[in-house]
Amino acid sequence: MENSVSSFILLIVTVLIGIVAIGLSAVFASNQYNASLIQSQAQNIANGLYISVSNPAIMSNGYAVFITVKDFNYQGSLYFTVFYISNVFRNASSQISPSLAYILNGKIVYPRNVKIGNSVPPYITATTLYYTNLNLMYQGNPIILWQTPPLTSPIDISLVLSPPQGYSAVILFFAQIQNKYIEVGYEWL
């Protein structure tokens, strides 16, 4: 009699442990599923992104360029930031991040006259940015993200660059998916 009671308890405990294990793995799997959903959305936008950069117009205090942006898979608006990075990082193997940005007096130096179709675009600040694979790209002081209008037709971003000696400008594009800012492309200017 005692034997059957103890084996019954054993059975209940085994089932309970099984339910808990499945519950935990289900929570983990749904997180994973959500992450892969965000990632595939970001990758989709990244794959459709088509960027062209104009010839530089040289001036006494820098040079003016414009960048046209079109996305064949996405018609919403994107976010972008522009800063200067040392030419040392200008090769395919290095990952670009605002943590490498040129800093003067403790602040990131941005280009002048950032305009989209002649008007100053709205901007927000972000403290956390992600790569397309959802790895952390940047976390720290707020960084400016300018917002583009909806990409129903190609837009042009006009700006004036004056990089310090040995530095080049880089523009990074982000999509906002579930309140995360995820990189969808970049271009050296």
Binding site: S54, M59, N118, P149, S153
Partner: protein
């Protein structure tokens, strides 16, 4: 002893059924994600190829009367605030060409100019907002002639810096940048 052994086995079997019923369908859903994603990657590719091919409209590929190659479309800054799209083949360009807006360097920055039609003349004025309507480059929209070929003339409200043609650019419906010559 024998009864106890069977009960544990039954418990494990129940556990196994839980895994099969819940975990396996979930895993299938997750693993099927990359397939649909790859499909979308492919869907963008043909558009990018068309977008790149559009540059051929401006590449010298058709022979003219003297036998030397000419581009189907020429983008010319004629001076005096006037730009011309000349249709050398006397027909619509091989790749559909819509000029969304013009971009002119005025000495301090690149300025976006929106193209509007005013009677029979096209005027490029400082754009206030996006999206711009754009102008399709075809013989139907031609309003003048250049060396016997149909052409579209657009008058710029902002002249390029030092009247240099390379400070006048046109942006197409795909975002390609074309410079005037």
């Amino acid at each position: 002893m024998v009864v106890k052994g069977i009960s544990v086995v039954v418990g494990i079997l129940i556990l196994l059924m839980f895994i099969i019923v819940i975990a396996v369908p979930l895993a299938i859903v997750i693993l099927s994600q990359p397939t649909s994603q790859e499909q979308q990657v492919e869907s963008a590719q043909p558009f990018k190829i068309i977008a790149k091919n559009q540059y051929e409209d401006f590449a010298p590929i058709i022979p003219n009367e003297e036998g030397s190659p000419e581009p189907p479309v020429e983008f010319i800054y004629a001076g005096n605030r006037s730009v011309l799209f000349v249709l050398n083949s006397n027909s619509t360009p091989p790749y559909p060409l819509v000029i969304q807006y013009l971009v002119v360097f005025d000495g301090s920055s690149w300025i976006t100019l929106n193209i509007t039609k005013n009677g029979n003349t096209y005027v490029a004025e400082i754009a206030k907002q996006f999206p711009t309507n754009g102008l399709e480059i075809n013989t139907y929209n031609a309003n003048t002639e250049y060396n016997g070929n149909p052409a579209i003339e657009i008058l710029l409200s902002v002249p390029p810096y030092e009247n240099q043609p390379y400070y006048v650019a046109a942006v197409t419906q795909y975002g390609n940048i074309i410079y005037s010559a």
